[in-house]
């Protein structure tokens, strides 16, 4: 038992994947984000997210792996609108991972907080534990009307009723990039080869994605920016996403 606990502690140690090749990280520059929601649309198309309809949306049963949260700042007439894109933070010390009774969610060697859909039994504990509220539950099996089912991404499972889901950092694209790297006899994926759907679609390039184990990667340089902060850092979840705060004039 004690060895198991030791192993688990080792596993839970932040940055334990330094010895592996990748630690996928994202930076989000809030100064550049215009709140256009292109990332949401791109994610919807890439990851087979269902359209739940107006009624279910009102019941808070929508599924959006990335969403734009809107905040108002100041008092009228001196009021400002602020946006913050919120997606799974892929925390090193993810609270959701400790909660899952069947290990359907776990941390893999690339620093990704992952979710295995067909292992999930739908206790929804992870969603309760997540302080960012970025886990979404399939309350129903959603269907796509013809011919919309033709646009489903074959590299992503279509989830069914009773399964939790969340942002995967477009793991299918990471997988393809790794596959290409292996074909070229490269040890690592080059910087910029993996581009998640949200990053690809961002018109202002507010989102940057890459491997922070590589000091030359664009994302590693962005992370050193003094504007950087992590959302709800005080909860010690050590997220993998660094937000760059807005510059006030």
């Amino acid at each position: 038992m004690s060895t198991f606990v030791e192993k688990l502690r080792q596993y839970r140690k932040p940055g334990y994947y330094d010895k592996f090749d990748y630690h996928w990280t994202m930076t989000i520059d809030l100064d550049r984000c215009t709140g256009c929601e292109a990332c949401m649309v791109a994610c919807q198309a890439e990851n087979n997210l269902p359209i739940v309809g107006e009624k279910r949306f009102a019941e808070n049963r929508e599924i959006k792996w990335i969403r734009i949260e809107r905040y108002w700042e100041g008092e009228y007439p001196d009021v400002k609108m602020r946006f913050i894109p919120m997606l799974c933070q892929h925390c090193d010390d993810a609270p959701c991972e400790t909660a899952c009774p069947v290990f359907a969610t776990y941390h893999n060697q690339d620093g990704l907080n992952t979710q295995i859909y067909n292992r999930c039994i739908g206790t929804r504990t992870c969603a309760v534990y997540c302080p960012y509220e970025v886990r979404y539950f399939n309350w129903f099996t959603y269907t796509w009307d013809e011919p919309l089912e033709q646009q489903l991404n074959p590299d992503v499972t279509v989830r069914e009723k009773g399964v939790m889901e969340k942002c995967t950092f477009c793991i299918q694209r990471i997988r393809i990039a790794k596959d290409n790297a292996k074909d070229d006899d490269r040890r690592r994926v080059r910087d910029g080869e993996v581009v998640p759907a949200c990053v690809q679609s961002c018109p202002t390039e507010a989102l940057v994605f890459g491997n922070s184990n590589d000091p030359e990667a664009k994302v590693s340089k962005m992370m050193k920016n003094p504007r950087g902060y992590k959302v709800l850092e005080e909860l010690n979840t050590t997220p993998s996403i660094v937000y760059l705060t807005k510059v006030h004039s």
Partner: protein, 181 residues
């Protein structure tokens, strides 16, 4: 005292006889199901023999399954691929199975082959990586070149995959997201 079935066959012991027939029927049924109705070895629209093609005529696997070393799927050859050879093989042109093929060709329809090695939708499998790692086709598909009708040999289930990944020490081979999607 010896045990004999003759005792059960006597008219006075009908229930025993019935039981015997039932057990026998179960075995026959299981055999018939496995032989003709299971998804392991379905009857295909054309009685295609890998034995004739791969052993007798020594055609390599990737002559027809051309995408095996390039893409995730190995690819079933198109009807035109079949006809490309069979047009110039006059010796078997009148064979009833070849006539079926010609009929599909003339109708301009694909042959509705029944998939034997079918993985669930939540599994990511790529032929390319396995072929390039140096695996022979037979390690998963069995001795296809000796089969007259294709039969699935392996279970194609998760323990079977994981066993092989563990045995060969595949890099991150037991990470869930290597195979799940």
């Amino acid at each position: 005292m010896s045990i004999s079935v003759l005792d059960a066959l006597r008219p006075g012991k009908k229930p025993a006889l019935l039981g015997l027939v039932l057990v026998f029927g179960l075995f026959v049924g299981a055999w018939v199901h496995g032989k003709y109705f299971s998804d392991r070895s379905p009857i295909q629209p054309i009685e295609f023999s890998h034995m004739i093609h791969a052993t007798d005529n020594e055609i390599p696997c990737q002559h027809c399954h051309i995408y095996a070393d390039r893409t995730p799927v190995a690819g079933v050859p198109s009807v035109s691929k079949c006809m490309g050879c069979h047009n110039s093989v006059p010796s078997v042109r009148e064979h009833p199975e070849i006539l079926k093929l010609v009929a599909y060709w003339e109708k301009r329809e694909p042959i509705p082959w029944i998939k034997v090695h079918d993985l669930p939708d939540f599994v990511h499998f790529t032929h390319k990586r396995h072929i390039r790692a140096g695996l022979a086709c037979q390690e998963c598909h069995g001795p296809v070149e000796t089969m007259n009708r294709i039969t699935r040999v392996a279970t194609m289930r998760m323990p079977w995959c994981v066993d092989c990944h563990t045995e060969r020490n595949v890099e991150h081979g037991r990470d869930c997201w290597t195979c799940h999607k």
